[in-house]
């Protein structure tokens, strides 16, 4: 498997990366490379330039700032899964991160790369939606922060412009007593989610539930959320899952089976956080 030829530039700062992206005729950002490199090898994509952002120090670092968990875009799944800050504040993100791919993938793949790619079956989008995370984006016109809700716009689609770089993921640390979980039904070959259900329930009862793998892109299931938030049982709230969205199907899980699984996994997740 040999990719097409391309140019490789290693950026030492976000600004430099953006400049390269602006100058390249068709440039792609290279993070951990675990979505991009396989596509290049299969020649499913052929950018002229790759901009490696993984050595930009400012894109790395996990910490807590004023009640917000901050994760650098270039942090790997493994770093997040094993971060004490993550485990102590939003343990389901650590659990979710440790369910991605396999050890080698988690050692190299980054959160920024994963969400920029926005694979419908990837775990991070659902996890970040349920966490009510914000994504910090730096572009040619400066920096902006958008909610995960606004970030994911469709099938492999985000609001990112071609010259944008994700710099940080910011997640509000929920009140004491909040429970969270990530329940994943994996496709045994790819280890992607057939259904991944992330759920967060705050002591007030307010609940956020998001799905990976079910539809064209990760989504928050408002019907389930509002039922659960207003005190419905896990069973009852879960029965509303994945209604009114287009459901993916493939040779491993058809549309109606996937929908059924979404309800089962919603219930399991809600039972966990009740």
């Amino acid at each position: 498997m040999i990719p097409h030829s391309f140019d490789y530039k290693r950026a030492s700062s976000v600004e430099e990366a953006i400049e390269i992206l602006q100058n390249g005729s068709y440039a792609k950002v290279l993070g951990g490379g675990h979505s991009l490199v396989p596509a290049l090898k299969l020649r499913l994509n052929a950018p002229d330039t790759l901009v490696d952002v993984t050595r930009i120090e400012s894109l790395k670092g996990i910490g807590i700032e004023d009640g917000t968990l901050v994760i650098g875009a270039a942090n790997t799944h493994h770093e997040i899964a094993t971060s004490a800050d993550v485990q102590n504040t939003l343990s389901f993100l650590a659990k979710g991160a440790s369910a991605i791919g396999d050890v080698q993938v988690r050692n190299k793949g980054t959160i920024g790369g994963s969400i920029a790619h926005a694979d419908p079956s990837a775990d991070w989008p659902a996890l970040l939606l349920a966490a009510d995370a914000s994504i910090v984006i730096q572009g040619a016109d400066g920096t902006k922060t958008v909610s995960a809700q606004d970030f994911f716009t469709g099938f492999f689609s985000t609001i990112l412009e071609e010259t944008d770089i994700i710099t940080q993921i910011r997640i509000p640390i929920p009140p004491e007593g909040t429970k969270s979980t990530y329940q994943k039904f994996v496709q045994p070959a790819s280890r992607f989610a057939i259904v991944g259900c992330a759920a967060v329930k705050e002591p007030s009862g307010a609940t956020r539930v998001a799905f990976a793998g079910v539809s064209d892109y990760a989504f928050r299931d408002e019907a389930v959320e509002s039922a659960s938030s207003s005190g419905a049982s896990a069973e009852e709230a879960a029965s509303k899952a994945a209604e009114g969205v287009s459901i993916m199907s493939d040779h491993y899980a058809s549309e109606d089976y996937r929908k059924h699984l979404a309800k089962v996994y919603a219930r399991r997740a809600l039972v966990e956080v009740s």
């Binding site: 498997m1 040999i2 990719p3 097409h4 030829s5 391309f6 140019d7 490789y8 290693r10 290279l30 490379g33 675990h34 490199v37 396989p38 290049l40 090898k41 299969l42 790759l50 490696d52 993984t54 493994h78 791919g101 396999d102 050890v103 080698q104 993938v105 050692n107 190299k108 070959a189 790819s190 280890r191």
Partner: protein, 160 residues
Amino acid sequence: MEIKISVNVNGKDYVREVEPRTLLVHFLRDTLRLTGTHIGCDTSSCGACTIHVDGVAVKSCTMLAVQADGCTVTTIEGLAQGAELHPLQEGFKECHGLQCGFCTPGMIMTAADLLAKNPSPSESEIRHGLEGNFCRCTGYHNIVKAVQYAAEKMSNEVSA
């Protein structure tokens, strides 16, 4: 256009010119002629190409050689300390953890990462830890035993 990279592989420094599209696994196999690292798939699924970059297991088929610039790489050829086998290498032999041997280097390198992170894994932790590596010969039974053997031996070495 070729780019100059310098990489330390198995304790030796190499400076080479590579095309940006050259995969790290091809660099190791074709340029450095370290053919113990194998290629079993196109989709980062089989783990046969697993090596360590800066101490952690990665799939060298999913990394460009240029990304390894300035890094320390260990391949299966660099795991033993001279004539003395690494406990995992010994474990694979003692427990018959290999048959055709093709997945073995990647399997051993992944297991080494696992034991570095978790020196006394349970059976299920071992199985989970090896989920990124296919073996088509052994049914994994003796691979699990080989990792247990190495874990035991390494913990004895530490306590001794």
